[in-house]
Amino acid sequence: MARTLQQTPLGFAARYASLFGVQLRMATLAAMQYRVDFLVRGVIAFLWSALTLIPLLVVFGVRQQVAGWSFAEALVVVAWFTLLRAVLEGAVSPSLTAVVEHVRKGTLDFVLLKPADAQFLVSTAKFEPWRIVDVGGALVVFVYAFHKLGHAPSIAQVATGLVFLALAVLILYSIWILVVCAAFWVVKVDNLSYLFGSMFDVGRWPIDVLRGVWRGTLLMVFTFVFPVALMTTYPALALLGRLDAKTAMLALGGGILFAVIARRVWRRALGMYTSASS
C-alpha cells in the first residue's frame, strides 16, 4: 500500500506524524459527539477500576502472601494492568474492532484505496480519549503501592519499567493485529474484542498464581502464546527490581518477534481480502 512513497525517510516520518495528528483529532471530535456517553464512560471507567480491586482486597484479606507476592507487590501488577488496559481500550481496541466491521461489510475498500499504509490507517482510526481516567487511576495505584512498600523505585528501575511499557504496548498491539487478521478468514467474529479482553484480564494477577495449574501449562500459555505475563508481571518485576538481565533480554527479543510476525500475517491476510458485494 505504501508504494507511492519515494521520499526520504524523514519526509516519510513527517508525513505519517501529521497523518497521525489528523486521525487523532478526528477521533476526538467523533468521541465528543456523544457527550453523555463520554461522561458516563469516564465515570464508569473509574468505577470499573475500583471494582477490579475487590478480588485483590479479598484475597489479601485472608492471606499475607499469595504465590510469593505481597499485597503491595501485587498492587504494582494491578497498576500495570490498569495502565495497559487504558492503552488497549483507549487506543488499540476501538480502531481494530472497526476493521472487523470493515471486512464484514466490504468497506475496507475505502481504506485500501487511500495512498498510505493500510495497517497504519486502520490502527489509528479511532481513539477513546476518556480512557485517560484509567491512566490517572493507574498512577494513583503505583504511588500507593510504593508508599506501602516504603521505598521508591530507582531511576534504573523506572527506566527498565518504561522500556517494558513500550514492549507491552507493542505486544498488545501485535496480538490485536493477529486477532483482527482472523476476521479475514472467518468473517463474523465481531465479538473477538470481548475474548481478547477476558484473556487479558488474567494479567490482573501476578502470573505466579498459575504456576500450580496442570504442571505449569497455563503459565506457559500466558507467558509465550498469549504473553500477558510479559505485559504486566514482568514490568512489575522490573519496577520492583526483581527481574534479572537475561530474562529481560529474552522478553524484549520475544516481543519484537511478535511484532514482526504480526506484520507478516497482516500482509498475508490482506491478500485474502476479497471485498463484498453491496
Binding site: I54, V59, K188
Partner: protein, 283 residues
C-alpha cells in the same frame, strides 16, 4: 418509523392470541436459531471462550487455599464451586443487551418488528436455541465437575434437586429480563455500551462469578445477599455444590422468582416506552 412502531405496540386484549401465535411459531424460530448458531459457530465459540475467568480465579484460590481452607472453602470446595459457576453461567448467560443495542442502532430491529409476533419471543427463541450447542460445550465441564467433586454435589435430596431445576429456570429468566432492560437503554441513549460495561463489573462481584459470596468481606456480602445478582448465578451454584440447606434454598427460590417477576415487568415497560422512540435508521 410509524409502520414499525405500530406493529410493535399490539392492542392489549390481543395478548393471549399473540401468545398462542407465538407458541405456534416457536418451533420454527428455534430451528432458525439452531441453524444460525451452527452457521456462525466461530462467533458462538468466541462468546463461550470469553467465560474463562472462573478458571483463573480457581487457579488463584487454589494457590491461596494451599495452606489451609478459607472459611468453609478448601481446595476441593473451590474446584466444585468454580466448575459449578462455569456450568450455570454457560447455561444461563446471554448477550441480549449487546445484540439489542446493535440492532436498535443500525436499524435491523425493524425486520423483527415487522413480524407478527412480539420481538421478545423472537429474541427468547434466539437464545433458547443456543442451548443444544451450549450443552455440547458444557458437558466436558460437567464431567470434570462429577469427577472432581462427586461427593459435594446435591444428589440425595430430591427436594433440593427440584429447587435446583427451578432455580436454573429462574436464573435464565432473570438474566434474560435484565438484559432486555439493559438493552432497552439503547432506545434512550445513543450508545448503551457504557452501562453495559458497568453491568459486567457489578455483576462479576455481586453474583459470585469472581469470588464465592461467602468469602467476601461483611459489607459486600450484605449487599450481595439483597441485590438481584446472586440469584442469577451464585444461588443455583450453591444449591448445586451443596452449600445450602433445603430451607435456605427454598427461601432463596422465593426471592429469586420475586425478582424474576419484578424484572420481567420492568423490562416489558422499558421496551414499550422505548419502542415508541425507535426511529429505525438505515434499513
Amino acid at each position: 418509523m410509524s409502520a414499525a412502531s405500530d406493529a410493535a405496540a399490539p392492542a392489549p386484549p390481543a395478548a393471549t392470541a399473540e401468545f398462542v401465535r407465538a407458541m405456534r411459531a416457536f418451533p420454527t424460530l428455534l430451528r432458525i436459531g439452531v441453524a444460525e448458531v451452527v452457521a456462525y459457530r466461530a462467533e458462538f465459540l468466541v462468546w463461550i471462550l470469553t467465560t474463562n475467568m472462573p478458571l483463573v480465579m480457581l487457579a488463584l484460590w487454589h494457590a491461596v487455599a494451599a495452606d489451609g481452607p478459607v472459611g468453609r472453602f478448601d481446595q476441593t470446595q473451590f474446584t466444585a464451586y468454580y466448575l459449578g459457576v462455569l456450568v450455570v453461567r454457560l447455561a444461563t448467560s446471554n448477550w441480549m443487551a449487546w445484540q439489542m443495542s446493535m440492532e436498535i442502532r443500525d436499524g435491523t430491529l425493524s425486520t423483527k418488528l415487522l413480524r407478527p409476533i412480539h420481538p421478545m419471543y423472537t429474541y427468547a427463541a434466539d437464545h433458547l436455541s443456543a442451548i443444544p450447542m451450549r450443552i455440547l460445550v458444557v458437558s466436558p465441564i460437567v464431567v470434570g465437575l462429577i469427577v472432581t467433586s462427586w461427593g459435594r454435589l446435591v444428589r440425595h435430596d430430591p427436594k433440593l434437586l427440584l429447587i435446583l431445576m427451578a432455580s436454573l429456570v429462574g436464573a435464565w429468566l432473570l438474566v434474560y429480563f435484565s438484559m432486555v432492560l439493559l438493552g432497552s437503554l439503547a432506545f434512550f441513549v445513543d450508545s448503551a455500551m457504557g452501562p453495559f460495561e458497568l453491568w459486567i463489573g457489578v455483576h462479576a462481584i455481586f453474583s459470585g462469578y469472581l469470588i464465592p459470596l461467602e468469602v467476601l468481606p461483611g459489607w459486600v456480602r450484605g449487599a450481595a445477599n439483597v441485590l438481584p445478582f446472586r440469584f442469577m448465578l451464585a444461588f443455583p451454584v450453591e444449591a448445586l455444590v451443596g452449600l445450602l440447606s433445603p430451607e435456605q434454598a427454598l427461601r432463596q427460590l422465593g426471592a429469586q422468582w420475586l425478582y424474576v417477576i419484578v424484572t420481567g415487568w420492568l423490562a416489558l415497560r422499558a421496551w414499550r416506552a422505548g419502542i415508541r422512540r425507535y426511529a429505525a435508521f438505515g434499513g
